[in-house]
Every structure is written in C-alpha cells, then in structure tokens.
C-alpha cells in the first residue's frame, strides 16, 4: 500500500502554490493535494475517530497530509477543531487559511462561518436546528447529516453523523474507497460491527453527495507514489517505545495532559516487550499520588541502580523542582520526559508551546544545569527515549526529554524505528569487589578520571556505603559546610555537564552556501520550518537552518552562528527562552548578531505568522 511522504530537500525548489480558488470561473482549475480542511465538532461525540479515518485514508493514498487536533480541556460537549492539511510539498504546519470548512457544531457555527474567507467550501449539517449558511461568497454544500445517520441507527445518530461527513468529503475529494475502508478497519481493529456500521455510513455520505450535490469547488485529491513506505504514529507512542528499548525498569507517573498517552503506551507495551512467558515483567509501573512522589520514585530507582523515569508536563515539572535539584546535587541518574503545554499555571492545558526550555535547563533552586534532549520528529522521540537513560547513567545526573503537545499527541509520518546501535551505557558503577579493591581511595564524589564523573557503588553491595544527601558534602560523601568543599563540588558539577556538550545529539544543519540568515530553532518547529524557509526565500534571501537537539549547546551551534551574517532564534513561546540561553552562553562578539523571534498563541506554529515576524525582525535589525 502506498504511504505518504514527508518533506524532502527536493521539494524546496518548488514554490509555495497559490491555492485560493478564483471566484466566478466556471471552468476552474483543479487544486490537487494542496488545501486545508477544518472540521468543527464538539468533543466526546466520536469525531476523533472519524477525523483519524479521514487522515489515515489520505495518508494511505500517498498524499502528504498532517492532522492537528485542537481539543478542549474537557470530557464532552466543548468545541473541538480538527485541521487536516494536504500538501504535496510536504508542509505539515496548519495552513494559513481554511479551504474546506465542516460545520457540525452549533456552538461555534456562527464564528466559524464568519471566519471563512471568500471562496471557502462550507459543508454543513442542514439538520442543525436554528442554523443555516447564507453567504453568497462561499461554496455551500448542505447535507442532512443527522437524518442520514438516523437511518442507520437512531440511538447513535450523533456518533454516526461524524462519519457521514467523511463520506461526503470522500466523494467530493475523490478519496479512494479501498484506502477509506482499510483506514476504518485500522481504527476499529477487529470490531466487525463497528467496521460495518462505519462503512455503511461512509456510503450514505457518498451517495447523498452523488445524488444531491453538484461539485463547484476546485479541490480534489490524487494518489501519489512514495519512495519509502511510512506509517503514522504519535510522538508519545514513539517515545514510549524508545523508553522500552532503553530498558526502563520503573515508570512512576501521575496523569497529566499531554503526557498521559506516553505513560499509557509504556504500560501497553509491557506484556509484549518486557514480560517473560509467565507474564512477569522487568518494568515496574507505579501511578504515584502526585508528581512530587513520581519524581521521588524515579530518584529512588536511580539510587538503587535502576533505570527510572517519569512522563509529565510543565505543571508536573514545576512540582518536581525539589527532587530535580537533589538529583543534580547528589548525582542520581533519573529521566524526566516533559511533553510541554501552554503555561504559566494551568494555562491552556490542551494547546502546544515550547514553554519549559528554561525551566528544564536550569531546574531547581541554586546553580544547576541539566541535560535536555529535544526531539523534533517521531524517530527522534524513539531514539532519545532510549538514549536518555544512557546519558543519565553515564553523567549521573537528571536528563530531560522535551517534546510538546503537537509532536506528542498528533500523528506524524515515520519510516520506522532504528534499533539502538550501542549497548546500554550503565556509567561508572563499581559492581565487583575486585574492581572496587583496585581503587586506592574510593570516594563517591572523588573525580578519579578528571572528567568530573565520579564512581559509584550500589546499595546492597556492601562496598563504600554512604548516606546520600542533598546537603553539602565532600568528595567522600560526608556532610561538609567547608567553603572549599562546596566550591570544588559545584565546579566539578559544572565541568561534568560541560563535558556532555559534544557527546549529546549534534544540531541538524541545513545550510545555504551564502550564509545570510541562519535560523536556530528546536523541537516540533521542525514541522513548520521548511515552509517558513520557503516563504522567506521567495523574498530573495538565503536561509539556513540549525535545529538544536540538546542542551547544553553543542559546539556546532556556535560555529553555525559564527558562519552566518544574521541569526534568528525561533521558538514557540513569548520570552525567547532559548534565545536567553544563547545570549548568556555565546561569546560576546556573537551575541550582537543573534535576534529573538518568539511567538505563541497556543496553536501549532503556522508558517506565515513566523515568517512575517522574522521579516519584521530582519528589517528592524538592518536599520
């Protein structure tokens, strides 16, 4: 079966197409695989299944497509929008505008209709009480979705309504029936009655469309051949699999959006990946009483010599600050996966933001500095999912994974996961008596090798027992308030983390020879950057990209900045948190050419907004 493709460099030469239909033309040119569908429903009505079927069937046709679920912090009844963008150029950001609007939810009906630009296709449920569509400048397709759904089963008409609009779209957009049916089968895995019911409903939508509507819009789809087969997966599931291939031994977690599905996926894969024939597991799971306890359990696991992790979001990281400081200071391996969401406080709990860059990098009171791994793709979610443990045990320090709601909870194309190419790195743990005896002096915090990383023995081993503590300590691990002990300890910790810089994932560079404008960015901005780059290059400038994949900064980041005339640090937040880190850590002569473009409104990054902000900034700094 054909699979969708993601952006490749060959697409870059192509121009962003003007996909707005021209009004009043009768022989309108077709617009193929390059438009955005916005589906307005209420949550808890089953719309998510319908939308995923639509997305999957387009993907199975080989159409490059991305889906963004804009959902409320609520169980049922509040407005939800699902944005499906088709783009032969492989653009995955939500588009600048909506080309096809589905109206099913009376609560947002008027607002969504008013927001539709002239020429927009409106497919609307004509059974909706007190709601209609009366606009001359749009293309209107009324469909009695509720009546059609009631024909199948009046009891679940609301649920079926959603799949009816998918049937309508399938007919209007020429979506392949085989792909639709296989997407339904995938969605309802083996539940025959559900599969049958949904396929019937799709047919009703299609038939109504054929018999009653005349297509006057230009939008259509075409199957595409793809070079390499791909599948769709959420970042949270990819990261969960990564954790298993990192041999996670304890998952301690407290439910929080948008990270819960990562923990739930870790749990779901235990029987298959981590259990013996008797069903006994090698990975413990504890749902903690709160995030503080979850963090404490992770530290306990690390202290005992195991691989412990938690999955959480910003509010959880806020609560874990105390333990993060302890893990740094007492040098306890521990992994924290942060799927960020909009802050501060409870913020917009179901919307996306790169909110925690500064908090993760410098978590807890006092002088601290942490290793942060920042995936921008689902493949990297997997890879950093296992690497996090290696780094954490090697450097004996907390390690963070920083994903976000967009990457974690939406589906992304993936070519498959790569098996770890190195054995698990358990760090400097002295397990055998013989090795222990070889030490002239053994001190838990003694820098024997000059790399700032000391050796440790484990509880139960009987070798060099100490009382781990969050209080000041000397190289032997004994309580100390001596100025030289504190100073030397803090200097060693700094050296230790500094030594990690070039061991961490290097930035991903896509460079133009001209080295005019360099954009430094991170994480899920990966999915919008190429479109931003293309919009900027339409104005004649040459744009290079540098995606940071870890903190502390790799030396290649500085080199990239040095090579470029002007550098924009692009991020999805208000304050430019990454910019702040760069400003502080870069040599003074480079600071002046680095400029911040930071913007966040809760939405996944829309390319045009960021491109325009970059243009403004470049204009401002050139004056």
């Amino acid at each position: 079966m054909l699979k969708g493709c993601v952006l490749t460099r060959r697409n870059q030469e192509e121009r962003v197409s003007d996909s707005i239909p021209r009004r009043g033309t009768t022989t309108m040119d077709k617009i193929i695989n390059d438009f955005t569908i916005n589906i307005a429903t209420a949550n808890g009505t089953g719309s998510q299944s319908a939308n995923l079927i639509l997305l999957q069937s387009l993907f199975d046709m080989g159409v490059p497509v991305s889906g963004k679920n804009l959902f409320p912090s609520n169980i049922s009844g509040l407005p939800t929008w699902y944005i499906v963008r088709l783009s032969d150029l492989g653009y995955q950001a939500p588009g600048d505008r909506t080309h096809i609007q589905i109206l099913v939810n009376p609560a947002t009906w008027d607002e969504d209709l008013a927001a539709a630009e002239p020429g927009t296709v409106i497919i609307w449920n004509s059974d909706t009480k007190k709601k209609t569509v009366e606009r001359e400048d749009i293309i209107s397709y009324p469909v009695p979705m509720s009546s059609l759904a009631r024909k199948i089963n009046p009891k679940i008409a609301k649920l079926v309504t959603n799949i009816v609009y998918v049937g309508v779209l399938a007919e209007l957009l020429n979506i392949d029936q085989t792909c639709l049916e296989s997407a339904v089968a995938r969605q309802f895995k083996g539940k025959e009655s559900a599969i049958e019911l949904n396929i019937t409903a799709l047919g009703l939508g299609r038939d109504y469309c054929k018999e009653n509507l005349t297509k006057t819009d230009p939008y259509t789809t075409e199957s595409r051949e793809v070079d390499r087969p791909q599948f769709f997966i959420e970042g949270n599931e990819a990261a969960a699999l990564g954790a298993h291939y990192g041999g996670v031994q304890l998952l301690a977690w407290y439910p929080i959006t948008p990270s819960s599905s990562m923990a739930e996926n870790i749990i779901a894969y235990i029987p298959r990946l981590r259990s013996n024939d008797e069903g006994e597991a090698t990975c413990a799971v504890i749902q903690a009483e709160d995030e503080l306890a979850a963090a404490g359990m992770v530290l306990g696991a690390g202290w005992a010599g195991g691989r412990g992790m938690t999955a959480t979001s910003g509010p959880g990281i806020s609560l874990m600050q105390e333990f993060i400081g302890l893990a740094y200071f007492a040098e306890v391996p521990s992994v924290f996966w942060d799927v960020t969401r909009v802050g501060p406080s409870t913020g917009l709990p179901t919307r996306t933001q790169q909110s925690d860059i500064a908090m993760l990098y410098e978590g807890s009171h006092g002088d601290t500095q942490h290793i942060v791994l920042i995936p921008g793709t689902v493949e990297e979610c997997f890879e950093y999912g296992w690497r996090a443990f290696d780094y954490s045990e090697r450097f004996q320090t907390p390690v963070f994974g920083m994903s976000d709601l967009d990457l974690g909870m939406n589906r992304w194309a993936c070519e498959g996961f790569t098996y770890p190419d190195i054995p698990m790195d358990r760090g400097k743990v002295v397990r055998e008596r013989e090795a222990f005896e070889a030490f002239e002096t053994f001190g838990r915090y003694l820098d024997v090798d000059g790399d700032g990383i000391p050796y440790r023995t484990l509880p139960g081993s009987g070798m060099a027992p100490i009382l781990y503590r969050g209080t000041g300590h000397n190289p032997m691990g004994v309580y100390s308030e001596k100025p030289e002990d504190y100073f030397n300890l803090m200097a060693r910790l700094k050296m230790k983390i500094d030594g990690a810089r070039d061991e961490l994932p290097a930035p991903l560079l896509r460079e133009e020879e001209e080295c005019e404008v360099g954009i430094v960015f991170l994480g899920s901005m990966e999915n919008s950057i190429q479109e931003i780059d293309d919009i900027l290059e339409q104005t004649g400038m040459k744009v290079s990209q540098c995606r940071i994949r870890a903190l502390p900064l790799h030396s290649e980041v500085e080199n990239f900045i040095r090579r470029h005339e002007t550098v924009i640090v692009l991020e999805i937040n208000r304050d430019g948190q990454l910019y702040g880190i760069l400003r502080r850590e870069l040599p003074n002569d480079l600071v002046t050419k680095v400029h911040s473009v930071a913007y966040s409104d809760g939405m996944p990054p829309r390319a045009r907004i960021y491109a325009e902000l970059i243009q403004e900034k470049l204009k401002e700094v050139s004056q």
Binding site: C283, A304, E322, R469
Partner: protein
C-alpha cells in the same frame, strides 16, 4: 601487649560484633530521645542477624532524618528531601526488593509536609519499617509546633497550640496499615522488640515513637506536664545555648499497666502498655485503645494492630522473581527482532 586475655566479643548469628552495626557520632543535642532510638535500631539489627549492607537507611529532613548517619555505618542510605522519603524508598524498592528498607522520619516530616506520601506508602503496603521519632516540635527550625503537638501545649513565648493533633497510629489503622505500633524512646526493651518484629514483617510497619525533644519541648502547661524545673527554664530561654541532659530513664512498663515518666523538663508523661488481652488483629479494638488513652491523658504503647494477610507492593507489581537490579541488560532491552516486527506491523 597485655598479659590479660582478650575480652570475648559478643557475636550475633552472623558472627558479627555489634560494632558492625554502629554509625558515626551523633550531632544531636545531648540526651535527645532520637539517640536512644538509634541505639535500639543498632541492637535490633544486630540481634536480628541482618547483614548490615543489606539494609537501606532512608530518611527525609529534620533532626530525626539526620540520625541514619549515626547507625548502621555499613549500610547505604539516602537522606532525601522533607517529607518525601516514602516515594524515594518506593522507587528503590521497585528496583531492589531484596533490601530491608528502614525509614526514619519525624512528626514534621510525616504528619505535615509528607503526610500524603506516608498515606500512599501505607496504601501500597510498601514493604518497609517506618519509624516516626515523634516529639511534637520542629527542632531544626527552633521549636515550632508540629501537627502532632497536643492541644493546650504552650510554647516558651506564650502561644498556646489550639489545633487538634494528628494521631499517626489512628490514621494508619484507618488506612489499613498492616503493622501499627507506638512506643517511647526510653522503653528500649519494648521498642527493640517492636523494631525487630517490624523488620520481619512483610508490608508497611509503622512505629510511632514518642521521643521528647530536650531543647524545645519544654512547655509546662500541656496536658503532659505537671511542673517545671526552674533552673532549666532560665537556661532554655537562651536561644543559642543547648543544655546538656542525661537521656530519659529506661522504662519497662508491664502489659496492662502504666507508669508516669519524668522528662528532661520535669514534665511527666504517662505510658500505658497495652494489655495482653488486646487482640492486635482487631482494628476497632486498637482504635478504641487509642481513643481511651487520649481521653485519659495517657499514651498507649505496644503493638496496636497487625495484619499479615495483605499482599505487599512487591506482589502487586507483577515483576520477575529476581530484583530488577539483577536482570541483565540484554534482557532489559527487547531484541532487534521485536523491533523489526513492530516496524513491519506499523507498515502493514
């Protein structure tokens, strides 16, 4: 080179002298009840014949939580953060269930900031000994009331505590804790027996030990007090001077009887040992005994409640037999074939 024969050193079943179970010198106030508890822990571990390195000493923050440095010097330990010792212990236990987890906490740690973690460790029936060194005050921050201070307790500077105390034993029984006991730091014999029993218990064993603070628990108007020694009052008002006291006398109260014990400050505490008729498998009887003691201004001590039937956390986790610590890396990481199969299924 003395001609005298070497004095025979008493050894336990592992042929270990008691010295193998001691720790560093205490930095607590001289005469502190906590030091008596430390010495009871040393004796109990030695007498129980537990290999010292198979014990993990866990604590939070506070005077009590400093004490793991003063016993079992051959055991690893973790002096964690305030009130969070239960969670760290839980995580360590998930990785190495074969160690004996010996937690020491205080009333600030357990009844205030960490009460949630205590409750949830009990709820999970975490396999550990959890000793609360309960003195009703915050020592390290110089004498604020804790959540176990009696109503009517009066501080040096005059404020009277009017907030109801939390009885940790009653709380634990209500939560279904599988081993609940109360004792007194001066009752070495009883406390020693309880700690030894708790070390053998599979599940969460709470021992609430009344352990008077020699420095700050000097109120003379609480329900525990009958008088006050004038000389001490004068010295105690000097904030940076810590008077030296002798440890509280050793007490051994026969079952079903009570005795009044005079504390450092001249106040008296009435301890009653629960009678041998008490059925520790009956939670209502245990709660009733606690209630009666409160009404009669006494502290009932002994094993109040015990239940050996509930599964402990290890059984709930559904893990392999060996501690996860001992599972080889090659087993922890799923095979290449398993990933190939997943990739193929995703692509199908």
């Amino acid at each position: 080179m003395s001609d005298k024969p070497a004095r025979a050193v008493k050894l336990n079943v592992l042929n270990e002298p008691k010295d193998s179970y001691t720790g560093g010198p205490s930095s607590l106030c001289p005469g502190c009840g906590h030091d008596q508890i430390s010495s009871v822990i040393i004796t109990a571990a030695w007498e129980n014949g537990i290999q010292p390195h198979r014990i993990a000493k866990m604590s939070g923050i506070g005077c009590s939580s400093k004490t793991p440095a003063y016993y079992l010097g051959q055991s690893h330990g973790f002096n964690t953060v305030h009130g969070r010792m239960p969670s760290v212990t839980t995580g360590a236990y998930a990785i190495n269930k074969d160690l004996l987890y010996l937690g020491v906490s205080g009333d600030g740690d357990s009844a205030s900031i960490g009460i949630g973690q205590l409750i949830h460790a009990i709820r999970r029936n975490m396999d550990m000994v959890y000793i609360v060194e309960n003195n009703g005050v915050y020592g390290l921050t110089k004498g604020q009331y804790s959540a176990t201070a009696d109503v009517g307790s009066k501080k040096k500077k005059g404020t009277v505590n009017e907030t109801q105390p939390i009885d940790l034993c009653a709380l634990a029984i209500n939560l279904g804790c599988t081993f609940v006991a109360r004792s007194f730091s001066g009752s070495k014999k009883q406390l020693g027996s309880l700690i030894k029993a708790a070390m053998s218990h599979k599940g969460f064993a709470l021992i609430d030990v009344i352990s008077p603070c020699v420095t700050f628990n000097n109120n003379d108007e609480s329900m525990r007090s009958y008088g006050y020694v004038k000389e001490n009052e004068i010295t105690l008002h000097m904030a940076d001077y810590i008077p030296h006291f002798n440890p509280v006398e050793e007490v051994d109260v026969p079952e079903g009887h009570f005795r009044d014990i005079t504390l450092h400050d001249g106040s008296t505490i009435r301890l009653e040992t629960i009678s041998e008729q008490h059925d520790p498998s009956n939670p209502m009887a245990a709660l009733s005994a606690l209630h009666d003691a409160e009404v009669n201004a006494k502290h009932v001590t002994g094993l109040l409640y015990f239940d050996a039937t509930k599964p402990s956390l290890a059984e709930d986790l559904g893990l392999v037999d060996v501690p996860l610590l001992d599972v080889p890396d090659e087993t922890l990481r799923p095979s290449q074939a398993s990933l190939d199969a997943l990739n193929a299924e995703f692509l199908a």
